[in-house]
Every structure is written in C-alpha cells, then in structure tokens.
Amino acid sequence: MSGKLIVHLRTHRTKAGLTQADLAAAIGVSRKTINTIENGVFTPSTYLALSLADELECSVHDLFALPED
C-alpha cells in the first residue's frame, strides 16, 4: 500500500463555516490534529474520519480519497 491520501477536509469545513478550532472542539481533538489532517501530514483513524464526516454532515468518501494509480 502506498500513495498519499487525498484530503478534501478543508473545503468541507469552510463550506460548513467552521474554523479549525471550532471543528476540533466539536469532535474533541486538538486544533493541530485538524490542521495536520488537512495538510496530509497525519492520517486519521476510521473512528476519527467517521466523526469528522458526521460533524460535517457528509460521507467519509467526500472528505478523503485514495490517490489514482
């Protein structure tokens, strides 16, 4: 398994009118965690990915995508 995860979190977060701090507080993580996920530095667990999707009222597939071969 290789390749960097494609992340659309920032787009969905700004569309929802939330700051990184707002989203972090809503799901109980640090702002830095949201920041590093958005920048592709940190790959979240399934649980955290589902929590993000739930908070932003979209699917996990809207937030993350596998790189094309």
Binding site: A24, A25, G28, V29, S30, R31, K32, T33, N35, T36, V41, F42, P44, S45, L48
Partner: protein, 135 residues
Amino acid sequence: MSTNPVSRARLIGSAAIVIATLAAVAAALLSIGPSGLTWAAIIGGIAISYAIFTFVISLRHPDAADAAWDEQNSHAYRNSIIFGFWSVMTVFLIFLALSLTNRMDPAMAFYWLGPVLGAVPSAYYLVAILRGHAE
C-alpha cells in the same frame, strides 16, 4: 503556543527536562557545576514536578486533557517512547563498554540512565511539536 492548558504544560515540562539534561551534559563535559548525582536529582525533580503538575491540570480541565491526548498526540507520544527505548538501549551499551574498560563508574552509569530515559522521549516529543506533528 497552544491555547490548550494541558498541551502547554506538556510543552513547558518537556522543554524543562530537555534543557536541564543538556545543561547537565554540558556541565559534566566541562567538569563544572554540581556533581552528576545532583544533576540527576535536579532532572528527576523537574520530571516528577511536571508529572504532578500535568496530572492536576488534567483533572481541572478534563476536556482539554482529552484533546491534548487525541490520536495524533498519542501517536507522537508512542513514537517518542519507541525512540526513547532504542536510545536508552544504545546508551546502555555505550555505558557498559565504558564500565567494563574502567572508564566509567558503574554506579554513575546507572544514575545517568535515568535522565536519558526521561529526557529522550521528551526531546523527541519537543521536536514533533516544533515540526508541527504534535501539539
């Protein structure tokens, strides 16, 4: 610096341990200042104070503690412990060789392993914070 009080306490505590350890190593190399045992006590005292302070802050701010120990920070912490293990193993082998060749007092080697064990994970975590991989 983070606005999370638990993260802030962790950053300050980690930095204090690393600075004290570096000062102790520098003093030992230059043969100045207090004895190695005194330095070990200073570093140990800082580490214990940091642990107690973090514990109290975490009790007072439980939501901040949860956020400060979220999965990214826990991941960085786990990596710091793994790095600490291999660092201590390496230092132990170096101290063992020095002790067996009568270049280091075995008792002093034993006392110095404590600060190494405490400071290396803190140093790793500090670097993770500075690189933006933890808070």
